[in-house]
């Protein structure tokens, strides 16, 4: 089956982001497809490249990136949510005259149209928040 997973919660502030990661891995392990990951609202912090966790803890952001890269997933961060929360790629940083990139390369910034496209192309949409 084709799944899309929508993540509404920031890492660490809530467990939901971790549940979403664990669920996504299991979806793929069972041979299903993930059509898209969509990070919305506070969920955009999962794509941060600046977050630092203590050495004895796993980085949820790094774990997402590993999954996305290894499995060649399509991972989209909602542009409206991202800008408000300081999650910027090079294009957005330049446009707003800021000198820092805060998003990981593994996710792209796009509009809510990508969520609706995911809903129309997926057999199941599962939200975590």
């Amino acid at each position: 089956m084709k799944f899309s997973v929508v993540i509404h919660a920031a890492p660490y502030s809530a467990q939901a982001a971790h549940s979403a990661l664990r669920f996504s891995r299991e979806v793929l392990a069972q041979g299903h497809e993930i059509y898209r990951l969509f990070f919305f609202g506070d969920g955009v912090h999962n794509a941060s490249r600046l977050a630092v966790v203590p050495q004895d803890e796993a980085s949820l952001q790094a774990d997402w990136e590993d999954l996305i890269t290894e499995q060649k997933l399509d991972s989209v961060v909602c542009v409206t949510s991202a800008l408000r929360r300081g999650i910027l790629n090079a294009t957005e940083a330049k446009r707003h005259e800021l000198d820092a990139v805060s998003i990981r390369d593994s996710s792209e910034i796009a509009g809510l149209g990508q969520l609706i496209d995911a809903v129309t192309h997926s057999d199941r949409v599962v939200n975590f928040g």
Binding site: M1, F3, H8, Q15, A16, S19, R22, F23, E26, V27, A29, Q30, H32, R124, V125, V126, N127, F128, G129
Partner: protein, 96 residues
């Protein structure tokens, strides 16, 4: 079309009072994260119709030290079964 309802907040914060008035026979309810605390007290889930399947996520029970306290009407499952349930029901509704 049948529906798997996900409940992830504790009973005092949770949406179960509303959710339980909207579930239908043949639906399922899966308790995850802080939602699993619903499954420790039978009276918290007694408003759900009898023909609704009840599940809770074992990883979340074990983390919270309550693996042995789940009320008998609720089936404890792992992530693998969680994904299977998402396929068996026609859609998934998350109540957060």
């Amino acid at each position: 079309m049948s529906c798997l309802h996900l409940i992830n907040r504790s009973p005092v914060q949770g949406a179960l009072p509303v959710c339980s008035t909207l579930v239908r026979g043949g639906d399922g309810v899966l308790f995850i994260e802080d939602g699993i605390y619903h499954c420790l007290q039978a009276e918290l889930i007694s408003n759900l119709p009898p023909d609704v399947e009840l599940y809770c996520l074992r990883e979340d029970l074990l983390a919270r030290g309550v693996g042995s306290r789940v009320t008998e009407t609720v089936e404890s499952i792992n992530y693998s079964r969680f994904v299977e349930l998402c396929c068996e029901f026609d859609k998934v509704v998350s109540w957060f």
